[in-house]
């Protein structure tokens, strides 16, 4: 794969997002911006106010005769199967017989306008027989209520190793969930055709799943449904499986009324009705030696799965697979419990369990450090995976591409980490109420879907006779710049300027049976598929060129928008025309599947990841010990992107992921009341970071000269998710600041998110414990 190129927009160039102009002018169209066909109906859903109840009766008569109403639908009206579960058949479109979370759709109403549908919705009466609800993770754990069997990963002899270690500690920590808060909420529009076929526009990361879901719910073959998505206004995992239900509702109503139907969730409904990042409860028990080297560890990881499985099994598997982070755990027992609660089913969110897995092991490392009176980084150093030995993960994959030690060393020396530590010490010595904290966070993130079969992709490339190129693939654009990156791949292979490549909407009738655009693997998979398709056409064109120039195919070279045979050349466009003239196809599909993956979902053993992406961050924070307010003063990041396909886009991914992670760990707090209702369901109550929350000094660098050792697309690495976990440096730095209040004599009791309230309570608590031990010591 050649990488030196003089074309405009080759791989590795800082190419702008293809829609940037459309974004700033407002011309870039999202589904809600599409001109509505005459007769388009809008939908409002009647949802459950109870976390758990039987449905005794539903009376829709008044709604049916309300102004503008065209259709009222409940579970009984679903023509096909009332299920959209992505993995298991457990997720009804409309509640049948019972509801098991607040916000579960019960009735769907289509009317001429949104307001009419809304007015009619208020006229629906549903009689419930309220049942006891399980709202907390602990309750579900005690009652052994799971959405899927618990998963256990074991390596070595953890019990024995913990028992005979010279030190043993245990602890508990929790992390909260996180709403995706994509700026564009869920939306779908279904347009029926005369023969019963349907076109569905859906804001989804997974058009194929929406297609299958819609067909399943309608009871029609998959080929009757076409799903299209040009772009999403953000997704972050929240539109991986969650879009199906809304598309299915729009489709059934469109099919019934014979009119186009649009459903757009308003912000509150979106936040109440759709899943979020899983909150977790962790308990650990760890044995280690005098240097802090972990000898054995047992970790309980209990997630709030919600009412159904959805993607929880995958999220849990990834959490288990990242509870090692960068550390060698020779003896480990990792126990994952997908707790079934009467809350909305949690789902994929950037990192997909990885952030939670890392949060607990970092807490363990910190606890070891505080116990031994050592620095956290000293404890990390003795636990990092080795290069030749100590390199087998708890799921028995060998870590072959480990660069974490070098990467961390480089970051530390570039920013003078030791100097920073001293500055923090001296600030704290001279300040009474504000305390600074500092922490590093190393990250190793496994790239590939944990489930091997998902690691495949397809692409479709056409060259027209004027040399312009049409590109399509199964990946979706949610802002991450995937379309731009894949187009760069095609441009580089053909050696033509990027503006010759037409990027097109993702459609299930162009590339079928695709995987979700997720797991950071969008460009790995679709880039390779497009690479293969492009090479197929290129080889055919080369043959045409060879016969035209009366030379061998080997002598043909595509370079700078032309095709050369020695000194003779043709423009790419002329060759395209010639190829057509010669009756050779200028269209090809490309396919790719990631090599070497296997995974046994029962034993949790295998080789689930093609490679690992590495990164490290150092964050400095200040907390106010009177109010618990905090601020991130500075963050330095060094991220491994392999040979970045597009450093401009990757930089944006790193920065955006970091800030999103910071929000999860600091200000974003999901609060439910005792009846299972979400109280924080809009930006007025749920606080994602704003521009002032960005670290005051924010230095982000991409590791240079770091080609992927695996033959990925132009030796690049995935970047969507890995940097999110670097934000744990902020949380750890806040914990450090709390711990510094008592000169690191105690471990802070601080969960995530570290809101002002949580921080203040942790400060008060650590002071209390410290004064108890100091008094006890005096006695």
């Amino acid at each position: 794969m050649s990488v030196d190129s003089d074309i405009v927009g080759a791989v590795h160039a800082k190419v702008r997002h293809d829609s940037a102009r459309g974004h700033v002018t407002g011309e870039a169209r999202y589904i809600d911006d599409m001109p509505m066909l005459p007769g388009t109906l809008e939908v409002v859903l009647v949802t459950s106010p109870h976390p758990h109840a039987g449905i005794v009766s539903i009376d829709v008569s008044a709604a049916r005769s309300a102004d503008g109403v065209r259709a009222v639908m409940s579970a009984d009206d679903i023509p096909g199967v009332n299920d959209v579960g992505p993995v298991f058949e457990d997720e009804p479109v409309l509640a049948a017989g019972f509801v098991d979370y607040v916000g579960a759709p019960v009735v769907a109403i289509a009317a001429d306008s949104y307001d009419q549908a809304r007015n009619a919705a208020a006229l629906v009466t549903v009689e419930y027989d309220v049942r006891p609800a399980v709202l907390e993770i602990e309750q579900a754990l005690e009652q052994e209520l799971y959405t899927y069997p618990p998963q256990f990963m074991t390596i070595g002899e953890p019990e024995a190793a913990i028992a005979k270690a010279s030190h043993r500690i245990d602890g508990e920590v929790r992390c909260g969930g996180q709403d995706h808060f994509y700026l564009e909420g869920h939306i779908a529009m279904a347009i029926p055709h005369d023969n019963g076929d349907l076109d569905v526009y859906s804001s989804t990361q997974h058009p194929s799943e929406v297609q299958h879901g819609v067909a399943h719910v309608l009871g029609v073959p998959t080929n009757a449904v076409t799903v299209e998505v040009r772009r999403m206004g953000g997704a972050f995992g929240g539109k991986e499986s969650q879009a199906t239900i809304f598309a299915a509702i729009a489709a059934v109503l469109a099919d019934r009324c014979g009119q186009p139907v649009k459903i757009r969730l308003r912000r509150d409904d979106d936040m109440i009705m759709t899943g979020k990042r899983h909150d977790f409860l962790f308990r650990y028990d760890v044995g280690f030696d005098d240097d802090g080297r972990i000898e054995g560890v047992d970790i309980l990881m209990a997630m709030r799965s919600g009412n159904v499985a959805d993607l929880s099994p995958g999220v849990l598997a990834r959490a288990l697979c990242h509870a090692d982070n960068c550390y060698y755990l020779p003896n480990a027992r990792l126990r994952g419990y997908p707790c079934k609660t009467n809350t909305v089913s949690n789902t994929a969110f950037r990192g997909f369990g990885g952030p939670q897995g890392m949060l607990v092991i970092e807490t363990v490392i910190e606890h070891i450090a505080r116990t031994l009176g050592r620095s956290v980084d000293e404890v990390r150093a003795v636990n990092y995976y080795g290069a030749e030995d100590r390199n087998v993960t708890p799921y028995q994959q060998r870590v072959k591409d480990n660069i974490i030690v070098a990467l961390v060393d480089r970051l530390r020396s570039e920013i003078d980490f030791d100097g920073m530590l001293q500055a923090v010490d001296s600030f704290n010595a001279s300040h009474e109420t504000l305390k600074k904290g500092i922490a590093m966070m190393p990250v190793k993130f496994g790239v590939s879907f944990n489930t091997p079969k998902l690691n495949q992709a397809g692409a479709l490339v056409h060259v027209y006779t004027d040399g312009s190129v049409h590109l399509n693939h199964g990946g979706t654009e949610m802002g991450q710049g995937l379309f731009t990156k894949v187009a760069q791949v095609v441009a580089s292979v053909f050696e033509i300027d990027l503006d010759n490549i037409k990027i097109s909407s993702t459609r299930t009738d162009k590339v079928p049976n695709t995987s979700a655009t997720a797991a950071s693997s969008g460009s790995d998979l679709n880039g390779m598929a497009a690479f293969n398709a492009t090479n197929t056409i290129k080889a055919r064109m080369a043959e045409v060129a060879a016969s035209h120039f009366e030379t061998s195919v080997d002598a043909i070279e595509f370079r700078q928008n032309r095709v050369y045979a020695g000194n003779e050349s043709l423009s790419f466009a002329d060759l395209a025309q010639l190829t057509w003239d010669e009756r050779v196809s200028l269209s090809a599909t490309g396919y790719y599947s990631t090599p070497g993956l296997h995974w046994d979902a029962k034993s949790l053993i295998g080789n689930p990841f093609y490679y690992f992406a590495y990164g490290a961050a150092v964050s400095q924070v200040v907390i106010d010990t009177l109010t618990g307010e905090s601020r991130v003063l500075r963050t330095d990041i060094l991220q491994d992107c392999g040979n970045s396909l597009n450093p401009a886009i990757d930089l944006g991914q790193i920065e955006g992921a970091f800030i999103q992670g910071q929000g999860w760990l600091t200000s974003e707090e999901l609060v439910w009341d005792e009846s299972g209702r979400l109280l924080t369901h809009g930006p007025s109550t749920y606080k994602i970071p704003g521009s002032r929350d960005v670290p005051r000094e924010f230095n982000v660098h991409i590791l240079e000269d770091a080609p992927n050792r695996e033959p990925t697309i132009f030796r690049s690495k995935a970047v969507g998710e890995p940097p999110l976990m670097l934000a744990l440096s902020v949380w750890l730095a806040i914990r450090d600041a709390v711990s510094r209040v008592v000169d690191h004599r105690h471990m802070p009791h601080l969960d995530a998110p570290a809101t002002p309230e949580a921080i203040l309570m942790a400060v008060d608590d650590i002071r209390r414990r410290d004064s108890q031990t100091t008094t006890a010591a005096k006695v």
Binding site: E184, R631, M761
Partner: protein, 471 residues
């Protein structure tokens, strides 16, 4: 009745059949086909719907949230949306170009809102510092970029102040503002004099008084309510006035935060900082102190400050005006002393006297654009090291904004010292029994309220580490 007229991207629009309480956002997207302006929340908190307008008679170009504005409020204004900045296919406006150059877009859904917020900043004539940029962007959320690229774009594009080309593009900036409008059975009154306003109020005592609409607007945008009658206050000149004499400011109930800010920040710097944390520029450009008082929320930010400053309200009804101390105005949770035929005319805020100092501290989950968990406001009179008088009020601690009588008593007469302050703080638990909610627990509220006394002491003693934002 008359039509609602305004210019939209330079073109005159006269609407005579649109619901006056349809949100400007819905109007733009559905009626005008301008879909560049996005809906991200419909509650004024995300900024995706930011547009810019010059209001009737004003000379300032202001960013506002289209989702909380109703069509009636557009009457007489010049409105510019993202579509108005660039010809299709033409050269990008400099803010747009800077965002493109800095790779400041990912999904792009937030982008038009950022463009408009920065467009307003570029035309504000301010010297652009990072502080100012964050102030201008506090109302705009982006979930993708992490902001760095957008802030960089702001630095380059807004350092050169823009030529206000709105006036030149429009035929006129003084379109007639009509004072009554009717469509689809909904009446909308926008009286121009206080007497006319009172008359409408008497005629329709159940109609909501609409000022900036940053509280009330939620009923239109999210609750989709269609009131039969709405009475708009911001066209009444007397209510927009801010007057200053030797001893006080009199702030008209319909004067916006943006208009009041210069007066307040010059006299009570700490109150000025607080106002900059109320909502965002988009909110403060239309929202009012009068509305903050009229809304009577226990977590409104200005009432504790105004109570600590011993402010007096003037209420006016058919029988003339009456004065009432602000602390007596709030009766119970969302209940006030305002009669059904009265309006709030203005609030008179005494200036600081000799030896008086004022401080207010707002605590919230996020620094910018967040509702307070707790807000404390303190006016102390210090003479020769002794606290001779103290007025202290808190928000977020009770069903109404309320004075901390016990704390005040403990401080009054005491020698100014950390000890005295801690003793005063200890009285918090007698003064208040707050509640748990999604913003904070009762325990946290009590703890923080008490700790704010320590902050106050250190602040007045000149400590350099009073707040994390100082670093």
């Amino acid at each position: 009745m008359a039509a609602i007229s305004f210019t939209l991207n330079g073109e005159l629009r006269q609407e005579s059949s649109v619901s006056p309480t349809m949100t400007a956002l819905d109007f733009l997207r559905e009626n005008a086909g301008l879909t560049g302006t996005k809906e991200g929340c419909a509650e004024g908190d995300c900024g995706a719907c930011t547009i810019v307008m010059v209001r009737n008679g004003a000379d300032r170009l202001e960013a506002v949230m289209a989702c909380l504005l109703v069509v009636g409020q557009l009457d007489g204004a010049q409105v510019v949306t993202v579509e108005g900045l660039t010809e299709r296919g033409g050269e990008l406006e400099s803010v747009q170009q800077a965002i493109v150059t800095q790779d400041g877009t990912q999904c792009g859904f937030c982008t038009p809102g950022f463009v408009m917020a920065l467009y307003a900043l570029r035309h504000s004539g301010e010297t652009v510092t990072d502080e100012v940029i964050h102030d201008a962007l506090a109302g705009n959320l982006c979930r993708c970029t992490g902001y760095r690229s957008i802030v960089d774009a702001a630095r380059t594009a807004c350092s050169v102040s823009g030529k206000d080309n709105i006036n030149s593009r429009d035929d006129s900036n003084t379109l007639p503002a009509s004072d009554a409008y009717e469509a689809g059975g909904q009446l909308y009154f926008a009286p121009k004099t206080i007497d006319a306003l009172i008359a409408r109020r008497v005629e329709y005592p159940d109609a909501p008084l609409l000022s900036g609409g940053t509280d009330l607007g939620l009923l239109f945008s999210k609750e989709r309510q269609k009131f039969p009658v709405t009475i708009y206050t911001q066209n009444v000149d007397e209510l927009r006035r801010i007057e200053e004499d030797d001893t006080s400011f009199t702030i008209g109930a319909a004067a916006t935060y943006t208009e009041a800010l210069p007066y307040i920040e010059a006299e009570y710097a700490s109150f000025g900082v607080l106002i900059r944390r109320i909502g965002s520029r988009q909110i403060r450009n239309v929202g009012t102190i009068g509305g903050n008082i009229g809304n009577a929320s226990p977590i409104g930010d200005t009432p504790p400050c105004l109570i600590a400053l011993d402010s007096v309200l003037t209420l006016r009804g058919p029988n003339g005006a009456r004065e009432i101390s602000l602390e007596d105005f709030f009766l119970d949770y969302r209940k006030t002393d305002l009669a059904k035929d009265e309006i709030i005319e203005n609030v008179r805020v005494p200036k600081l006297g000799n030896g008086q100092i004022f401080r207010t501290y707002k605590i919230s989950k996020r620094y910018d654009q967040d509702i307070s968990s707790v807000i404390g406001a303190f006016r102390l009179t210090l003479e020769n090291g002794v606290v001779t008088a103290a007025r202290i009020a808190f928000g977020g601690m009770a069903a109404v904004p309320k004075r901390a009588i016990g704390c005040e008593a403990a401080l009054t007469g005491a020698v100014w010292s950390e000890d005295a302050v801690r003793q005063a703080a200890a009285a918090i638990e007698e003064d208040f029994s707050p509640i748990d909610d999604h913003r904070a627990s009762a325990a946290y509220r009590l703890r923080v309220a008490a700790n704010l006394f320590v902050r106050l002491y250190r602040d007045l003693e000149g400590a350099d580490d009073v707040e994390v934002m100082a670093l």
